[in-house]
């Protein structure tokens, strides 16, 4: 290189400093939370997305505002319009001094079924432009039970590296020791509010000792939620067994091919021995033109990884709700006995 090693460009400096502090906490303003919830809830059960605005400060990613995207259409013309909308919105918000820096996006989900290839692709797209971005996932179906189902996710670095280089094969995965748990990283969420809002909320808080979320939480009927959860779980299990069949098929083919290769090799060696005895040149021990040496393509592992993730997510949800139901049932029992 012509550039001397001692002089580092700004870009290089920036890159090295990015690496230095990993993202630890996502700090969201109450305003952004309310906006996300409003948007997701109004359009539930259809899934919606929007953009998060904020600042990247050290190991904290501050989300101070957000705006919704219109429901996406397939048409390309409209897609261009969507991009315009985004620019226009950001310009407008900058005029009233809102942080004009994209830090990621939010999306709603149904029963936590968000682990899809699309999510990963969107993430990679964002990642190209913004070094540190985050995806906030909100589940309106869960919030009916008095839970603030808000999650901040990012893809793990090791996964991104593999995905970017398209190295998603069994060998590489083993090398990196990457299992399905390591695809997504959940980042703890902090909430912050300005002092002004805090003052207003303290004033406006109702005097009643019970709030809406208490009613929601003590609701005994969890059956519809559980039913759908199990339904989704069963669907995922079907998908997973399909994936596993693909793998079995692949391995069966692989071992058959290996057996064929072995037998071919033995034959060739025997032939070479006889040729040697006859004083002729030995034939090469490999024949690329032979179809049995053609490598069989390995089925993609990403799908099965994502399905596995999804299943474990459903299991967690079932466990959580079942645990709560137990408490509620025993509470009810105690009340009845009194």
């Amino acid at each position: 290189m012509a550039q001397p090693a001692a002089v580092r460009s700004f870009l290089q400096v920036a890159v090295t400093e990015e690496v230095a502090s990993p993202l630890r906490v996502v700090q969201i303003e109450g305003l952004a939370i309310l906006k996300i919830i409003k948007h997701c809830k109004e359009f539930s059960p259809s899934l919606v997305t929007g953009q998060l605005l904020g600042l990247d400060v050290g190991s904290v990613l501050e989300v101070t505002n957000c705006f919704p995207f219109p429901i996406r259409e397939e048409d390309e013309e409209i897609e261009a319009e969507g991009a315009n909308y985004q620019l226009e919105m950001m310009r407008c918000l900058r005029e009233v001094n809102v942080d004009n820096n994209t830090v990621g996006w939010y999306q709603s989900t149904l029963l936590g079924s968000f682990q899809t290839v699309e999510l990963i692709e969107t993430f990679m797209n964002y990642q190209e432009n913004i070094k540190r971005c985050v995806c906030i996932i909100y589940d309106p179906s869960k919030s009916n039970q008095g839970v603030l189902a808000l999650k901040a996710l990012k893809l793990s670095d090791s996964f991104m590296e593999l995905y970017r280089n398209n190295n998603f094969t069994g060998e590489k995965l083993r090398e990196k020791n990457l299992s399905w748990v390591d695809i997504f990283e959940e980042i703890p969420i902090k909430v912050s509010n300005s002092a002004l809002i805090s003052a207003f909320m303290t004033e406006l808080e109702a005097d009643t000792p019970v709030a809406q979320c208490d009613y929601d939480r003590l609701q005994l009927s969890t059956n519809p939620f559980m039913e759908r959860n199990v339904e989704f779980l069963i669907e995922c299990m079907d998908d997973l067994s399909m994936e596993q069949q693909k793998f079995q098929y692949y391995y069966r083919n692989l071992s058959r091919q290996q057996a064929q290769q072995q037998s071919w090799l033995q034959k060739r060696r025997a032939e070479n021995m006889s040729r040697k005895a006859a004083g002729e040149e030995p034939l090469p021990e490999e024949d690329p033109s032979n179809p049995i040496f053609k490598p069989i393509p390995e089925p993609p592992r990403l799908d099965s990884f994502l399905i596995t993730n999804q299943i474990s997510n459903y299991c967690n949800q079932i466990n959580g709700v079942a645990g709560q139901s137990f408490s509620k049932l025993y509470l009810m029992k105690a009340l009845q006995e009194d």
Binding site: K38, Y85, L218, M226, C315
Partner: protein, 285 residues
């Protein structure tokens, strides 16, 4: 209208029982805009979006700030900005239309009539919401106004701001929990079991309160209040009367349902980890 010669002095539209519902997001947004207002600006002004419910109540669901310049006797509103932002908002949610405008500060001020006139052209009978971010009288005062015209016959004399009752819809905020929205910093979102524990503690405390009250009344330490008594008896009566065996069966059935679900999910997890082990083992082959 009794006699032909008499001209009637009246308010139009007549001050009906119009009211407005304000969602917490609107207040949050106004506060945020105020915090981020430009240097030297005294107040922020903006548009309120929402809808008018069938019973005439104005449902204020969303808002955005509009930049403006204010001097002693005139107000310049950035109308282009207002229209751009409106178009953007309507792309997302076409159902939300302009229902009025907001301003920070205590009550109506001088320039308000001018701005209100502008919004009257954008929407019929707009609502003017004022949010006292300065805590002028020590309270968080949020007020809503509509304009009422005073006319003498067909001749319009003046218009005045008439205060309307506001319903601060805090149900959404309660759903999220005031604990999260009230503090300036919350380190961790409560997870579901912690929330459950909180609710149960609250319920217990309430039951204890009721016990204490009833005991006090019975012992003659407190004057009985019939209304409270009726509430308590209603509450107790709302527990369905079941024979203990039927109840036992109900509880046990539910518990068993939950146990089956737990069992299923545990088996699934075991299956997952097993499958992963098998997959990695197959790779070594």
């Amino acid at each position: 209208m009794s006699a032909g010669e008499l001209t009637v002095l009246q308010f139009t539209p007549s001050p009906t029982s119009l009211s407005a519902k304000v969602h917490p997001l609107v207040i949050f947004n106004i506060c945020d805009c105020f915090v981020r207002r430009p240097d030297q600006a005294e107040r922020v002004i903006g548009t309120l979006l929402g809808s008018v419910l069938p019973d005439g109540t104005v449902d204020i669901r969303n808002s955005y700030a509009v930049p403006h310049n204010e001097s002693l006797d005139q107000v310049a509103l950035d109308i282009d900005y207002h229209h751009n932002m409106l178009a953007s908002h309507q792309k997302v949610n076409p159902k939300e239309v302009i229902v009025g405008w907001f301003s920070t500060g205590f009550g109506v001020s001088g320039g308000s009539a001018l701005i209100h006139e502008f919004y009257s052209r954008e929407a019929t009978n707009p609502v003017h919401l004022t949010v006292d971010t300065g805590f002028t009288n020590g309270d968080a005062t949020i007020k809503g106004f509509v304009s009422v015209n005073l006319s003498l016959g067909d001749h319009q004399l003046a218009s005045q701001f008439q205060e309307i009752p506001l319903d601060l819809r805090m149900v959404e905020a309660e759903r999220i929990g005031f604990d999260v929205l009230k503090k300036t910093a919350v380190d961790k979102l409560p997870n579901d079991l912690e929330g459950m524990e909180d609710s149960m503690k609250k319920l217990l405390a309430l039951i204890d309160d009721v016990y204490k009250y009833v005991d006090d009344v019975v012992e003659g330490r407190l004057a009985p209040d019939n209304n409270i008594g009726r509430f308590i008896s209603d509450t107790v009566a709302s527990i369905p009367k079941l024979s203990s065996s039927a109840f036992e069966k109900l509880v046990n059935d539910s518990i068993q349902d939950q146990l089956v679900l737990l069992y299923l999910s545990s088996i699934t997890r075991t299956q997952l980890s097993l499958a992963e082990k098998l997959n990695t083992a197959a790779q070594i082959l």
